[in-house]
Amino acid sequence: MTEDYKEMLAPRATRLALEVRNLRVSVAGSDVDIVKSVSLGLVPGEILGLVGESGSGKTTVGLALLAYCRKGLRISGGSVRIDGQEVLSLSARELKKARGRLVSLIPQDPGTALNPILRIGTQLIECYADRRSATEDKLLELLRLVKLPDSPAFLRAYPHQLSGGQQQRVGIAMAFANRPRVIVMDEPTTGLDVTTQSHVLDTIRSLCKEHAVAAIYVSHDLAVVGALCDRIAVMYSGQIVELGSTAQVLSSPAHPYTRALIDAVPDLDRDTAVTGIPGSAPEPSHRPAGCPFSPRCTYAEHRCTGAFPPMTEIRAGQIVHCVRANEIRVDPPSARPVEHESAEERSIALAVSDLEAFHGSVQVLKGLSFTIHRGSCVALVGESGSGKTTTARCLAGLHRDQRGQVLFDGELVPPHASERSLHLRRRIQYIFQNPYASLNPRRTIGQSVAMALQQFEPTSSAEARRRVVAALDEVSLPSTSADRYPHQLSGGQRQRVAIARALIVGPELLICDEVTSALDVSVQAVVVELLTQLRRDRNLAMLFVTHNLAVARNIAQNVAVMQSGRIVEFGKVQDVLHSPTADETQRLLADTPRFAFSVP
């Protein structure tokens, strides 16, 4: 098996651009493996997507290709050959030369990766080994390459003068400056909205193809990877569990984890509801013997708990580590269709008319009017800067400078929370985008949730405790989590705490501000399922802010598309997505990454 592994891991080629063999990364000073035994091969010009949830080790693998690992970890075994040269055995001095020339990195957040006090030109020059060779013509050519304005003025700009997409393009230019053999990309488009993301992906794809650069694209989003990559490697618990061409992996996934990941991705082309993956990935120190996915796997049987399943090649180019791969491959997907509910016959909960909002002298919202019916959800969609979050904050009473009329249940809603009645504040609840900032780090989960309850209905501490446990139970968190602190929970768990905190006071309108954008796709699916169920059970009216139309389709009945402070299209979600009338909607639809395949 090991003799011909090259052919199994990569298409037949004369010379591999990247060859990884049994790569192992451990916690320094212990035998706990973060990544164990990863093998890969890439030919020049090929893009491989490395997919998995948080904690799967995908970023660690990506960084190890530069012979780098985070503090506290060490690369404890295996080999990484780039263009035939072993990287892991290089001295510190040679490594410095190799990084950026042989292999380079495009980091996740371009905003923090660029030095804020240096001009773009200066930072580009720094990429070159011989700085004198970096003439202005050469830099302008580099800018043209990544489709940035090739003017000397641009070279003199500072990072903060650029948009997020432009900053990321500068990051790409820096990575490409020396024409490396391999580029590692660590979720370079997560912070960008769909339109910018789709343009950046186009640029990356054409650059890799034209210059025959092999690329590893690390991401948790299968939709993005499916749109960009030639092949996909699915990682779980520090190991590759499935590897194959994009079409193979996405259209006939043979590993249960791959299937679960695909079911979690909201897709515009499929009429199926997203399904989350129950449970969470095991900690590196507590990985079960046998298949690490078996505790969460619906196909698991006694064979799965013995040893890690051996590699099986189920067809040319597609390998999988699962004892039941051949059965699973032909098993029809258990897709549930999205249920279309109509909201019209229900009573109106919230009516907004001519809402205007200002940031200083800038008018951010230019007269919004829409209604939300009881028991239904309106999705507010648009690219960044279109005013979605400002709208949500206005309704939540967090933005003072607003005009217009907001009626909740026929009652006039004052602009700021401090002017609203206790009753009104209780009935309108807000959930924040970032679950890492919305919980006080100094309070236990129980205290945070109880604080919301005590604010509206002062109760005895025993009664409050009972209600808190019940609220946590409603969002599927164990009662023990009440005594935990936020930093002890994962992002998805924190967001569920935030939902419990909003629910415990008995709200009638829930405003969710991009609540899933900081979460993994699999966790996003869990949260979407949870919110849908709660909306039905409690007849909640909901405003769901998102930049992803596919998510909107899964959670909302009506959708409002925003563009520069105005609603340009409003209607039933299936009507808007199937026959969009506004240019902005059509553009957003075109830019949303989708699977170009069908699950059998």
């Binding site: 900032a437 919980l439 006071v505």
Partner: protein, 302 residues
Amino acid sequence: MSLLGASWRWLRDLKAGAVGLLVGFLIVAGALIGPLLAPESPFDFVGAPFDLPSSYALLGTDLMGRDVLSRLLWGGMQILGLSAVATLAGVLIGTLLGIICGYLKGTTDDIIMRLLDVAMAFPQTVLALLFLSILGPKPWLIATLVTAIHIPQVARVMRSVALRVSEEDYIRYAEAIGLSTRRIITREILPNLTAPLMVELGLRFTYSIALIAGLGFLGLMADPSAPDWGMMINENRIGMLSNPWAVAAPVFILAILTIGTNVFTDALTGTRRAKPTLPVEETEVSATAGKIVGSGNNEAEK
């Protein structure tokens, strides 16, 4: 139960800090029970002036022929007591002002901070001397003056931290459900300032000791005959060649105490549990360079 367990785990993480804490604790405890251990009365004349250490006076005698060891054991009460009171009061008031400014911003912030700027503009020791010479050296006056010197500096540092914390979403949430301003300040913001607060406490305590020892050195303590570490250094330095211990002993104790407190507060900054919202370097910068942050960061904060 969990509080005890948690605070033990927290202390165990300190390591170097534990040493600092131990040193500081020994000296404070020594100063508290010292009077009970002192072999002689600090006011009795036991020998000739500036006698070298001997069996009846283990650290020799001072300029009046009094026992240096006994005076050393008695001499910490006043300086440590005044320092503790001045530190607690100064940090408490300064922190509250800082949070109020950092959270409310706007006019309140402008008025309070400009008034504190005025207070900071005066040379503090000179101002303290002025008040002491007008009103006479009294313990309460010394404590009040040192407190007043601390307030603007503490307020500066705490304001910059509170500015950051009050931008967090959990503060927005508290506003959205209508929590009162008083509760937001005491229950939401204050607990998140524990790390810089502890650092400030330690730092201000050492400053207080230095200031009060300095006042003692200048002979401005309430009772000129009462034993005091700062004053001992001053009155005995004329006989430094005859009995160096009369000067070296109080200097040594003050130095050890200051170093111990600093090591402890440094370690506090480094522990993970003590800084939930702030990166290490920011806490350190704002703590060790309080004045620099105060004057230099003015533009950036706005």
